[in-house]
Each structure stands twice: as structure tokens, then as C-alpha cells.
Amino acid sequence: MNYSLEIKNLRKEFKGFTLKDLNIKLEPGFIMGFIGPNGAGKTTTIKLIMNLIKKDGGQIKVFGKDHVAAEKEIKDRIGFVYDENYYYEDLSIRQMKNIVSKFYSKWDDNQFNSYINEFDLNPKAKIKTLSKGMKMKFSLAIALSHQADLIIMDEPTSGLDPVFRRGILDILYNIIQDENKSIFFSTHITTDLEKIADYITFINDGEILFSEAKDKILDSYRIVKGSTKMLEGNRDKFIGLRETDVGFEGLTNNINQIESSFNNDVLIEKASLEDIMVYSIRGE
């Protein structure tokens, strides 16, 4: 099968941090959320995919092709949205567009103008005068105007207000209606992913803890609440625990074991992605 993105045993070593044998597969037509705390390795992974930094081991294939050997061809089909503004601040939106558009074989000016209108951006405005939200809109307009088949986004919603975040999610949802397109979306705002992601990959301290279908993940994990004294001899049944004076809260992915151990004496609730992320990190 030709995956939009296929990462095998990817490795990158820095002083004090190592990305360890990452494995990710993303099929066309799906959105993958890439979650993890700050410093977990999300941006490093994305930079490796984009060949902005060199890998120390493993393989990265985009559209079935090696990301270095077919770099130009691959990047022509990728829409990349950055976590920060990396455009020339002194230029206007139109000037910046004129620079970027010359590099893409399928650049669509009408599409770009349509996004600029939709996002209410003034083409004459200098990039340095734009707010963070407006810069992100501009970045999105660039990424979506050359018929990209894979959109890679590094923390696109961080620092943005909920209304604008919802707007971005709607756009992404519309893009994915074309079953040839895929989105790889890193964030630590997990509620965004609960709305639109099909798959979730969770990275912590350079290692992937899981990479699975979102629904399967949400079905597998539960939050268990009860009194602290019930924890005696049962602590190892939880992935992560939080104890207070009034009781405990823990994350489990073994619901049957919890039910048989505690009977009906504990409260079992569905876990959110945030719960899974927080407790998985705490429990380690």
C-alpha cells in the first residue's frame, strides 16, 4: 500500500535528547493527530520529515518515495504550516505570495485569493503588522493553494482563540473530504484532535507510546475514580494515578481487570485524549 507518510525506525540523536525508533503510517484520506508534551519530539519529527534536519537512522517515505531522494517532487505535494512565523517580515502578503508561488508547479492563484478573502486578509498588509492568528491564516492560505496532497502542520492552533481554532478545524475537515489528501497535525491541544482526527500518535520523551485509530484509543482507556484506601495492592493496575485527600483518579487500558478488582465500588468514565496524555506521562 502507498501511504501518504510512512516512517520506519526513525532515529535522531541530539545532546541530551534522542528520538528513538519512530514508526508512523498515515493512509491517504485521513487526519493523524501527533500529540505529546512540549519537548517530546514533535517538531523534531516534522523537521525530519521535511528534511530540515538530517536523520541518524531509519527511513521516511512520503507518497511511497524516499523523502531525500525525491525531495523536490515530494515537497511540491506538501503544504507545510509552521508553529511560528517564518516569512519575511518586511514583505507584504502579496510579495510573499509572489515569492513562494514561483516554486510550486500547481500553484493556484484563484484558490489563494479565495482564501485571502475568506480569511479577511489584506494583500497589501506587511507580514510584520499581522497578528499571530492572521499570520497563521496566511500560512494556511499558502499551504492550501498549491493542491497539496499532504498537509503537515506543526502546532497550528497553539496560541489561537477557540473561534479561530474551530475555523481552522472546519477547513481541515473540508480538505479531508478529498480522499487523496491527508493531514499530519501536531498539537498539544488535544480537544482539537478529538473533533477531527482519525488517528492519534502519542510521543513522549522521543518515544512513541501509541499510534492508533482515535476511536480505538478512546474505547480502550478509562478514568477510574475511588477512595484512596482502595488503591492498596492495586496501584500497578493503573497507567497513571493522581491522589488527593478525598480519593484517587487513575487511567487504565484494562477495563475488565479494573471491574473485576473493584466491582462497583469505583466510578469508571471515558477518558479524554488529554487524560490519556497527562496520566501516561505522570505514570512513567
Partner: protein, 211 residues
Amino acid sequence: MFGTINRDLTLIFSNKSQMIIILSIIPIYLLVLDINQMERMYFLVLVMMTYIFVMTPFVFDMKSQTLSMMNSLPLRRKDTVLYRYLSVFIYFLISIVYSGIYLWVIKKTGLMDVEYFNLKMIKEALPYVLATVSIMFPANFKFGPRLAQILNAFLFSFTAVAAISLSRNGLGSLDKGIMGLLKGPSLLLVISVAYIISLLVSMRLYENRDL
């Protein structure tokens, strides 16, 4: 190549302060140099104009930290380096045209009696530009913005001082000592080889650089 040149020219002529710098180069030289050095001014203008055209995109990349953005575009790093080295010849040509028109206007309006085209000076300026660029480019492709900025400041000062010195004495001053051996066709050959080596080194450095 066209995309890279388009980007560079957009940046070079992007704002008023940038335009003022470019427009003021020739008047500054006219004010600084005395009348006896006028015949060498054409050499100086060509060298410094090309230097400014070549280095402006690097300065913008340092200021805006745009290397990640530029490298996410469909362009191989090897091509980025190659286009940068080839673009030097285009900027040299633009400098000839620009200074030619500018100096022609000065001469025609009677402000000053200056040369606006001198083939001998062009032949002398090109190897000088290529030699300078052969040192500057690898440094800029290898190092991060801060270190590259320091190196650029040093190289800019060196280029300016050396160019003024050469403009005073002429390339005839190279006849003395070891440099005398490199005059004429040998000089061009040595600089061409150095330029190609510099290109290959820059490609290697940039391809292996983490951004």
C-alpha cells in the same frame, strides 16, 4: 533558478530603506573619493553593488529566520547553493547596467565627469567579486545567523578596504610579489577553480546542515 532570482530581487527592492541604500552607494563614493581616484571608481562601484545584491538575501534570511520556510519549498539544497553561485553573475550584470545608467545620468547632467562603462574595469572587478564570494558563501551556508553575521561584517570590511586599496593602486599593484604570478589569465583560472571548489564545499556544508 527563476524562483530564487525572483525572491532575491523582491527582497532587494522590498522597502524604502533598502532602495535608499542602493541609490546612495554611488553618491557616497563620489563624495568620499577624490577626483584623482575617479577612474577607479567604476571598479569600486561594481564590486560593492554586486556585494550588496548578493548578500541582501542572506541578511534577510538571518533577520527573519526564514531558512526553514525556504527549505520546505520544492527546492533541493544542492540547487539552492548552485543557484546562489550562478546568481552572482546575474547580479554582476545588473550592477553593470545599474551603475552604467546611474553614472551616465551623472555625466550627461554635467554633475561630474565620470566613466559609465569600462570593459577593463569590468574584467578586473569580476575576479575580485568571485574571489570574495568564494570565501563568503561557504561561511554563510555553514553557520547559523549570529556567527554568519559576524563573519559578514568582517568580510564586508575587508572587501571594502581591499577594493578601495586596489582602486587606488590598480591591479598593477598585484605585479609585486607572489601575486604577480597570478596576474592575467592565471588569475582568472585560479579564481575560477577556487569558485568551483567553493561551490562544491558549500553544497556539502549546506546539505548536511540541520536547520
